[in-house]
Amino acid sequence: MAVLVIAEHDNSELKPATLNAVTVAQEIAKEIGGDLEILVAGEGCGGVAEAAAKIAGVSRVLLADAPELANQLAENLTPLLVKLASGYSHLVAPATTTAKNVMPRVAVLLDVAQISEITAVVSADTFVRPIYAGNALATVQSSDAIKVITVRTTTFDAAAAEGGGATVEAVDGAVDAGLSSFLGQDLTKSERPELTTADIVISGGRGMQSSDNFALLESIADKLGAAVGASRAAVDAGYVPNDYQIGQTGKVVAPNLYIAVGISGAIQHLAGMKDSKVIVAINKDEEAPIFQVADYGLVEDLFTALPALAEELDKAL
């Protein structure tokens, strides 16, 4: 019995989310007394595989490098994973959109259930996962021979990226299912840290009133080295692109510091950030639900508060 981690990467770099998944894999591997291996599937991703091999506790890295896998098309990845799966008791991936796209397909073809977004490992077959936007936690026990799992990365520390010395083995078997083709992507380019792994996140809601006003948040984010996020309302209103969205159906973050600006605090947004260590809310409505979860609340018009905050940060940092 062994655990296979499906790495998250962009063909050139290994994404940090992989490391959180590795932490989970390590826990499971210990439970079952088995090995931990990583699969890197893509095109021209040899460098990623090498980085993966350096992760502490990994015994082997499988590298599937093929043009059919260049853009992580679900229909092409699935057969590969299904083929490889038979050697493992657990398939673990970070709960990224890539993994969410593929892992259910793998599970169903193995005729097993898929366990989404676990937040704790209780034992090799028992896990905790959030339901109802995280307002309840379910402890579930799987009776399947192979467990196909996605991991809520914000709940786990990242495994050490160095200290390991695994071998890298090529695997083939990648096919073009011929069902889909990649047309292009529109990725937000940013100097800022990635939202799901940033230490500090500052988020804006509908109260920001325009996309231009998000510049106010960005300048503060710069001072703090923070990532910028948004509520669904701000995304729907077109102030920021969809990948800024934090919430039940957007990204889930758990930074050390989360600053919610002009966000009312609907349950669906809270689901995406309520595990943050420290929550700050800035809103002119003192009855806004966000204040129920905020450690520090500032009842003030954000257009007054933000410039003041920028000034104070300059003084203090």
Binding site: L73, R105, A113, Q141, Q185, P241, D295, G297, A316
Partner: protein, 249 residues
């Protein structure tokens, strides 16, 4: 082509859920239930396709207890042509639902199956993907745009880094994300007329599917509560507390 839409009856998204004291689950007795919000978007998309002439029939499918028929009626009120209700009183996992839907797809032969990205009760985000794999079809998951032309569909997907455009072969399974469309409200005459639209009822046995769950729910609990916070007077105080008290900056 025929479009199949899979919908689920869930606790209304506005309800503050209560976890049962005995840890057996979330209280759903006497609680307001509605169609899963993502599924409303799915139904809306299907109806727009029919209105545009891309689809000639919209069939709404739901797997659930007797009251799921009400949810199907809502889809019919929005404009779906007929419904299929797989009567199942026990909780089902996406694995079982996907198998049931496959059996229905094989009977109905649609060109497109549209599902919501995730159900807001179990938050699994699996069913559409599973169905697609079982059928050996293409999939477009978490889509915010859909354009069907000939034997293909061009979808825009919402992913972690931004947006991704993919071309998928028809027949396909797509799961819809929030920004695909704004679902219509059904008018009362349509709600009343929906009562006359047919809903075929069947059981998992009729479809030859074993719906026994693979996972046992050992317990359901509330997450740990956050401690109450304090209000600060101004930005200066805030920064001071963050730096010197919470030590996060």
């Amino acid at each position: 082509m025929k479009v199949l839409v899979a919908i689920k009856r869930v606790v209304d998204f506005n309800v503050n859920i209560r976890v049962r004291g005995d840890g057996s689950g979330v209280e759903t007795n006497n609680v307001k239930m509605s169609m899963n919000p993502f599924d409303e978007i799915a139904v809306e998309e299907a109806i727009r396709m029919r209105e545009a002439g891309t689809a000639e029939e919209v069939v709404a499918v739901s797997i659930g207890p007797a009251q799921s028929a009400e949810t199907i009626r809502t889809a019919l009120a929005m404009g779906a042509d007929r419904g299929i209700h797989v009567l199942c009183e026990t909780q089902t996992e996406p694995l079982a639902v996907a198998k049931l839907l496959k059996a229905i797809v094989e009977k109905e032969d649609p060109g497109l199956v549209i599902l919501g990205k995730q159900a807001i009760d179990d938050d699994c985000n699996q069913t559409g993907q599973m169905l697609s794999a079982l059928l050996g079809w293409a999939q477009g998951a978490f889509i915010s745009k859909l354009a069907v032309a000939g034997g293909n569909a061009e979808v825009t997907r919402e992913v972690d880094g931004g947006l991704e455009k993919v071309s998928i072969k028809i027949p396909a399974v797509v799961t819809v994300d929030l920004r695909l469309n704004e679902p219509r409200y059904a008018s009362l005459p349509n709600i009343m007329k929906a009562k006359k639209k047919p809903i075929d009822q069947m059981s998992p046995d009729d479809l030859g599917v074993d719906v026994a769950p693979r996972m046992k729910i050992l317990k359901v609990e509330e997450p740990p509560k956050r401690q109450a916070g304090v209000k600060v007077e101004n930005a200066a105080q805030l920064v001071d507390k963050l730096k010197n008290e919470a030590k996060v900056i």
